[in-house]
């Protein structure tokens, strides 16, 4: 699956480039409220550790529940872990502002490009969709035409990036205060829908592990949007 590795690197490079361009264009040199350099560095370290731990824990849990051996990574699990790490860090650092918009363009590119790698990796990557008779169904080599759910996710994220880039210059304050929560809402919302098109084991109430993670993120986003709205008013 070297093709996946190559797209992981491309995803990282595109994430860094788009992120740098966005920050420089709109003078977002550091997340709002994160002041000293050292605090910013430890904040990044906390996010990274949350991303890695969440990614491995939930990815591997889903793989284990599916009765397959190995270790797995999940971007959704990573986003969940990073958000938990960020909120814990912010609580102890006394930061009350939204700090996430700074990372959104990079995250979008990471997901959008990374998912193309998942699509090209095919069946061994265990990220394919369920069987479909729709004309755009893709045969990954086992003779079954499947939903290219990886591309659905990639496309949704790119559309969100366009909306962000078009809308940000007109409403910068809205995006700075609430943009990250809007991103989480859209990301978790679309993943929740695509999860119904995946062959993952169901754990509770007809939903898989990632459905439940998505629901947790949607609730988080709605709560934070409401809270930040009250803060703005």
């Amino acid at each position: 699956m070297v093709i996946h590795n190559i797209f992981d690197v491309l995803a990282l490079i595109s994430a860094v480039l788009v992120s740098l361009w966005f920050r420089r264009s709109y003078h977002l040199y550091r997340p709002v409220g994160v002041a000293p350099s050292s605090q910013y560095h430890y904040y990044l370290a906390a996010l990274l550790m949350g991303l890695v731990v969440g990614g491995f824990v939930f990815g591997t849990l889903n793989l284990y529940l599916a009765g397959r051996e190995g270790i797995a990574k999940s971007m959704l699990g990573g986003v969940f872990g990073a958000i938990v790490a960020a909120e814990v860090f912010k609580y102890f650092a006394g930061i009350r502002h939204s700090t996430g918009l700074y990372f959104v363009p990079g995250l979008i590119m990471l997901i959008a490009v990374g998912r193309i790698g998942c699509f090209l990796a095919g069946l061994p990557d265990f990220t394919y969709g369920t069987a479909t008779t729709l004309p755009w169904g893709v045969d990954f080599g086992d003779g079954v035409r499947r939903h290219p759910v990886q591309l659905y996710e990639s496309l949704t994220m790119l559309i969100f990036l366009v909306v962000l880039l078009v809308s940000y210059p007109r409403r910068p304050l809205f995006w700075q205060r609430q943009g990250f929560y809007v991103f989480v809402l859209v990301y978790a919302g679309q993943r929740f829908v695509w999860e119904f098109l995946k062959p993952y084991p169901l754990v509770l109430a007809g939903m898989n592990v990632f459905h439940w993670l998505c629901l947790a993120l949607i609730l988080y986003a709605l709560f934070m949007l409401k809270r930040s709205q009250a803060f703005v008013e």
């Binding site: 350099s37 990274l48 190995g70 061994p124 990557d125």
Partner: protein, 104 residues
């Protein structure tokens, strides 16, 4: 402008070098992968790309370990910056190196 020499606490020094040694472990693992996939008997189907990939990761890991050790020795970077460098070696590079959503 001359840089101010940084003072690192003993706990940070121990933590830094433990993580750095973890990075050396990653380096050795990928060096071994490289030798397995690029050496004799490793030219089978799929080995043509995985070999150079492992070599690339080994070189990147070695470079980051070298830079982080030099930065530590120079004492002109803050502990938080050094921490990010060593995390790059022990977490980010192996994460990219193993690639894919499923590692079997």
């Amino acid at each position: 402008m001359p840089q101010v020499a940084q003072h690192y606490s003993l706990i940070f020094k121990i933590f830094f070098w433990l993580l750095w040694l973890g990075g050396v472990g990653v380096f050795l693992v990928f060096a071994w992968f490289s030798s397995m996939t690029m050496g004799e008997g490793g030219f089978g189907e799929g080995a043509s790309l995985i070999g150079p990939w492992n070599l690339l990761i080994t070189v990147a890991e070695g470079a980051v370990l070298f830079i982080s050790a030099v930065l530590f020795g120079n004492r002109d970077k803050s502990a938080s910056v050094l921490f990010l460098w060593v995390l790059l070696a022990t977490v980010v590079i192996p994460l990219i190196g193993f690639g894919g959503c499923v590692i079997q």
